[in-house]
Symmetry: C2
Subunit: 325 residues, 2 copies
């Protein structure tokens, strides 16, 4: 149960189409949620919509709101809170943090969604109590975040923790989007890879439930593969095991590099649960070094679509506790 | 020129066969060096030899020695300074830090050689001024160290930064030693890989200087390949370019993961200089994400065989400055 608290923070997850603002107490329990569409707005309209969303959340808060955190889908220069290289929102080269602090009259922190999801899991989720933790968010692509020594790790100019873009097969398939690489973990263990391998396996095994689904014209998506696997279809189970094994290669790398306490797997693909995690654990144990491999846990994320919002709240709360304004 | 200083530290690099102790001032300039054989000693004899070496260095110091740092070739539990999993020295399960502090009557710090080489480059070498830096030491294998946010990163139980044991080719050749993995960076970009590929290329190109050297019965070592490449032999140059390209795949991964300011390449193989680094830079630029790839420098290490000793001194100096005893 959420506890009542005198001081609250607001966490905002700003996506390309909508924002989610949540009021959180100092235990990161969520008290209220506000959704607003932000699609197709220009910069001034977007800022107004964000301010209106935050003010609505603030009015509903059970205590005084002392800080606001934002998760935004772009690279952020942490020295000045500038938004760099934004793709889906009109905030490129905007001093996002300072503009929001000015408009809201509150201390504001900003980070990207991968870092914030990792922070949410560390502060209140599957990585609670860890010193060093790695988060992989597996959807269409693979995002990630690092909490090292209890603090978010962002790299020299805030562009680190691109954890899906680690080569595990140098001569592998080309990567997606703006990534020029080949054989990235994202090409071999993402939801896109799951659908691609599921389609291939459905073709090879027409008598399986997966093969029959394809013959009936159903799209072979990660969600369908997961549903059929949970129903016991061997072809679907084998597809998830293949992706989980590829994932385990990547986790073995992160094990040897970071010697983390825990690797947390989030994103839509984690709906497969142990059908994905068990093959990943097996492959990691085959490849990683002792004693790291024996120390490491590989677990499902606690937070789903609210990870960014909770992490944004955690970032705001951290800043309040550390006296950063 | 070394500067005179009232306070000094001693850095000790303890290897399987000998120790090197150096007296360093607070600018990490080395004033005196002491070498002692330690091969074949039991634990009591080893401790006595270390104490004698440190005391000899201390007597020769130009100022008061205020702390001692040790680099030892094994996993160290930083919570208690215990030596875990030592292979070449009789110090397994020994409370190395506390025993040495007791015997020497001085504050003692201990770390492994990879971490210390990275620290040496950060404090006084090729990574000076960096916030985040990655060191790869390329010899028979590939070791490494991380300095993140200006501090050594060791992982949850001190077993992190095994940077040579990152898969870049999941179906690649089996790794060496106690590593159960396949296709590690170490299998494709170490001195061992250089000699192996040089032997293959010598066989394919018998008219090259490299091919003729093999026909004459000379062993195809990394040193020979580097010598012939510096003399202009195309086969030797191509061999180094192949290894450099493989190295560049690994560096692209570390770029995307850490967004470091600099990746420093040390170890015997860096004798090849730009013949190794230039192909590595080209491959990194082909694979890593913007803006990380444009921010990153890839440079040769400053310190060679003294990296561990200087890093041990830097660790001792850090502890003095931070008031750790």
């Amino acid at each position: 149960m959420p506890t009542m608290s005198a001081e609250c923070v607001i966490g905002v997850d700003l996506g390309g189409t909508k924002l989610l603002a949540g009021v959180l107490d100092d235990g990161l329990n969520v008290h209220n949620r506000i959704y607003r569409p932000v699609h197709g707005l220009d910069q001034r309209e977007l800022v107004d919509a964000i301010v209106a969303g935050v003010e609505e959340a603030r009015a509903a808060a059970p205590g005084e709101v002392v800080a606001v955190g934002f998760g935004i889908p772009c690279l952020i220069d942490q020295r000045n809170g500038m938004a760099l290289m934004a793709v889906n929102l009109p905030i490129k080269d905007m001093a996002f943090r300072d503009v929001m602090a000015e408009r809201l009259g509150l201390p504001v922190q900003v980070d990207n969604d991968g870092n914030l999801a990792a922070l949410a899991e560390h502060r209140a989720g599957a990585a609670q109590g860890a010193t060093d933790s790695v988060l992989l968010t597996i959807g269409t692509g693979i995002g990630g975040g690092l909490v090292l020594g209890g603090r978010p790790y962002r790299g020299a100019i805030g562009a680190g923790a691109e954890l899906g873009h680690m080569v595990i097969q140098a001569d592998g398939p080309p990567c997606q989007g703006n990534c020029p690489n080949h054989g990235c973990l994202e090409t071999l263990a993402s939801g896109t890879a799951l659908a691609r391998e599921g389609t291939r396996i459905a073709g090879e095994r027409p008598a399986s439930a997966l093969g029959r689904a394809m013959a009936e014209g159903r799209g072979i998506t990660g969600a369908l593969i997961t549903e059929l696997a949970h129903d016991g279809d061997e072809a679907a189970i084998d597809t998830l095991a293949l992706i989980g094994t590829n994932l385990g290669v990547g986790i073995a790398n992160y094990a040897n590099i970071f010697n983390p306490d825990v690797v947390v797997i989030g994103g839509g693909v984690i709906a497969a649960g142990e059908l994905l995690l068990e093959p990943a654990r097996r492959e990691m144990a085959r490849r990683a070094l002792p004693p790291t491999r024996d120390h490491l846990s590989i677990v499902a994320a606690r937070f789903g679509t609210e990870a960014g919002m909770v992490g944004a709240g955690a970032l705001a709360l951290d800043a309040v506790r550390q006296g950063v304004t």
